[in-house]
């Protein structure tokens, strides 16, 4: 012991003294609000090893000044371990995750207005034998609904402290901290009463289970309740144990017991007894405000209109409000870049700093306003309870392609930018459905495609009406949407084959989102993006800069177009020409395609370097570029940008994965390079085939 202490560094000593708490609860019980109220800005987000479940931790101080670390477990309805979230919660509480020691106290959060279902998870938590404090949240809403819970009675029945609170109003936090600071918190000795036959089989199996002694019985009950498929996937059971469990299940089945449902039923019977003794008052039967709102918001006509309006507002804000700071960031850094340029001698290092690093930082930061705006709106949608209604209304459409209603929002968000869209897939519980959504999300035309569409439409039809232009634009959006649904359907039937996920979704009452929770969420999303994707995006931007800069032509007076033609990117463009010629593209377009790998809108910039235009004239650069492009001729004197090439280029940009930033985020979200690599290959192939059909098919029909 002594040697241990003397070897330990100060951080480890502090870790010994720090209390480790975990906060668990159902979704929508106010768990995050309580977590935020306790820890404030002292939060950090990471991932559990090997899974994509988020690990959120915070610190706060107890009533006697003890430091406490608080681990936010994913919101789940059960510890049955069928989904990654449930499995992580269970593994953390059993101390099975490397690097995440077993918590010494659990805060179990329950929604007082919905006690029965919330106690289900509590009954599973109590069986783990870890000291637990019950946070009876939202007692105000419960009382408004006519539900009065006797905390002392409930505390006696459960054998743990029960603290009534209203986390959103910070009411009850001090008694909660006092309860948590007690050194003598008792470990609950609880087991939900199970039918004797089931209990006997569980006793037999318990000693063979790898878990703390007091949790073995409850783990045995859970394992007995797993279906054969779920059992085969459970990570913490040896083959011998699985044989024992299957034998026990067969014995119980032949005795006429349905093991899967018996344990659930037994828990709810226990809950009903507890509630009968602790819940007083008569619940109001009239319509609540939430019910009234839902009569409008999920109405066939008004609901759909409200939904469209909400989505339109979200988009409008992203395109207008977010656009302003985006322009500031872009222009500000451009200005900074030219100032640096004027201060440094003209050499390669200056070019690296200005065109590589500063441009790369700008490429990262420019996404921030969109991510902040979108997470603000998504936060409102989620915290208010409207997200569940949106999924409820869209589920029919999404289930046609084998997806869940919850896939709708990430896909919709991707119209602004696939990066926050991919990040928003975290609400989808099933791994395969989440992957399908991530894989098709970039097919939604993001805002970075707009400059490309704009340029190509201008080259295609310079003098056409705005109506016609929007028509072309709209058809590009529709092409993306239809392809996304088609690909989702194909993935669900092939590589990510799985049943349409079952929809079993709580429709929480509408609540006013708290500004504090919203701000913390925005900060969290921004930090995650900057830390996890920003670095990769910056590195790739610098790599891309090198590709379009080196090697240099021998003539030092060479113009931009000559430099780029001589560079690796230029050579790649030439090398690409035989491949892209069937699409009607020449090597100059090839350079544009390579250049826009960093971000699609860079296409416009790269093309102006290639054609040596718009370098000095600010503002009307695009106009000169479209003129130049329209006059560009092939060697045989025919124009390069025929209508077919223009449409083909747009189709290419609808379908192709021309965005390294998205790939970096997908890598972060899926924890491997395998999925982003697959995504890049399939979307590029799709773009190639799509453009090929447009160009060659069009030529066959006699168009140009």
């Amino acid at each position: 012991m002594n040697t241990l202490l003397s070897d330990a560094n100060p951080a480890q000593e502090a870790a010994v003294l720090t209390r480790r708490l975990a906060i668990a609860g159902n979704p929508n019980c106010g768990k995050s609000t309580l977590f935020n109220a306790l820890t404030g800005m002292q939060q950090k987000v990471g991932n559990y090893p090997g899974v994509t479940v988020e690990k959120k931790e915070g610190t706060f101080y107890g009533s006697q000044g003890q430091q406490m670390t608080l681990l936010d477990l994913p919101g789940t309805y059960s510890l049955q371990a069928r989904s990654p979230d449930e499995a992580v919660s269970r593994d953390v509480l059993l101390g099975r995750i490397p690097g995440t020691p077993c918590p010494d106290t659990i805060i179990a959060v329950v929604d007082a207005s919905n006690l029965e279902r919330n106690l289900y998870l509590v009954s599973q938590i109590l069986e783990l034998g870890i000291p637990t404090v019950l946070a009876l949240n939202m007692v105000d809403t419960a009382e408004e609904a006519g539900i009065v819970i006797d905390p002392e009675e409930l505390s006696q029945k459960l054998g743990i402290p029960v603290i009534p609170l209203v986390a959103s109003k910070r009411f009850g936090l001090i008694p909660l901290k006092q309860a948590l600071s007690r050194a003598d918190l008792p470990a609950p000795k609880f087991c939900a009463p199970m039918p004797p036959a089931l209990a006997a089989e569980a006793q037999q199996i318990a000693p063979f289970i790898e878990a703390p002694a007091q949790a073995q019985f409850s783990e045995a009950i859970l394992l007995l309740g797993l279906s054969e498929a779920a059992l085969a996937e459970s990570r913490h059971s040896s083959p011998e144990l699985r044989v024992k469990i299957r034998e026990a299940q067969q014995r119980l089945n032949s005795a006429g017991m349905d093991v899967c449902s018996t344990a659930v039923d037994a828990r709810y019977q226990w809950i009903s007894r507890i509630c009968a003794e602790t819940v007083r008052g008569t619940p109001n039967t009239g319509l609540t405000l939430s019910d009234r709102l839902d009569m409008i918001l999920t109405h066939r006509v008004w609901g759909s209109l409200a939904f469209l309006a909400a989505m339109a507002l979200m988009f409008f804000s992203i395109f207008t409000i977010a656009q302003v700071p985006m322009d500031w960031i872009r222009d500000g850094l451009k200005l900074f870049g030219s100032w640096v340029e004027s201060q440094m001698p003209d050499n390669d290092f200056r070019s690296l700093v200005v065109d590589g690093i500063i441009a790369g930082v700008s490429a990262v930061l420019v996404f921030l306003p969109q991510i902040l705006t979108l997470s603000f709106f998504l936060g409102i949608l989620e915290d208010s309870g409207y997200m569940a209604r949106a999924a409820f209304m869209m589920d029919r459409l999404m289930s046609r392609v084998g997806l869940h209603g919850k896939s709708f929002i990430p896909m919709l968000s991707s119209f602004a930018c696939a990066i926050p869209g991919v990040m928003a897939t975290r609400t989808i519980e099933q791994r395969k459905d989440r992957l399908v959504t991530i894989l098709v999300a970039p097919l939604m035309s993001c805002s970075a495609r707009l400059p490309v569409y704009g340029l190509m439409i201008a080259v295609l039809l310079p003098d056409t009406s705005a109506l016609q232009k929007s028509g072309i634009m709209l058809s590009m959006y529709m092409l993306g949407i239809c392809t996304a649904f088609l690909m989702a359907l194909i993935f669900k039937k092939t590589i990510l084959r799985s049943e349409t996920p079952i929809l079993l979704m709580e429709m929480p009452p509408y609540r006013l989102p708290s500004a504090r929770d919203l701000l913390l969420r925005m900060k969290e999303r921004a930090v995650i993006f900057l830390k996890r994707a920003g670095t990769v995006i910056l590195a790739l931007s610098i790599l891309l800069w090198a590709l379009i800069t080196y090697p240099k032509p021998e003539n030092p007076e060479a113009k931009g177009s000559e430099v780029i033609a001589h560079s690796v990117a230029g050579q790649l463009g030439h090398a690409l020409e035989p491949i892209i010629r069937p699409l009607g593209f020449d090597w100059k377009i090839g350079i544009g395609l390579i250049g826009s790998l960093a971000a699609r809108e860079v296409f416009v910039e790269t093309m102006s370097i290639v054609y040596n235009v718009g370098q000095d004239q600010q503002g009307d650069g695009v106009e000169t570029l479209q003129e130049t492009m329209r006059n560009e001729k092939r060697e045989d004197g025919t124009p390069v940008y025929t209508p077919l090439v223009c449409v083909g280029l747009m189709v290419f940009y609808v379908l192709a994965m021309q965005c390294l930033s998205t790939l970096a985020v997908v890598r972060r979200e899926t924890n491997s390079w395998r999925w982003p690599a697959f995504q890049f290959v399939y979307l590029t192939l799709l773009a190639y085939v799509g453009t090929f059909i447009v160009y060659q098919g069009g030529k066959l029909l006699g168009w140009q």
């Binding site: 309805y77 899967c260 709580e506």
Partner: protein
């Protein structure tokens, strides 16, 4: 005569769960959300496109698809 399937109830109708005939995982999930035999529930509404449906059960609102509701035998109340 009074026994039917949950999916056949209309808006506002009430029922008591008799049994669940669904694959093991789905059955367990439904029961964990509180739809155990003997529980009363009522239909609040159907989604604008006809599916899924929203129930009131154990004092809260739960939505599920008709496909699953077809596996829930109900005694109409």
């Amino acid at each position: 005569m009074n026994n039917t399937l949950l999916s056949h109830l209309t808006v506002g109708e009430k029922g008591r769960v008799l049994s669940l005939t669904l694959p093991a995982d789905a059955r367990q999930r439904l029961m964990e959300m509180g739809l155990t035999p003997g529980t009363e529930c009522s239909v609040v509404r159907f989604a604008p496109l006809g599916d899924p449906m929203e129930l009131r059960v154990r004092g809260y609102h739960l939505s599920l698809r008709k496909a699953e509701a077809e596996g829930v035998a109900i005694e109409r109340l």
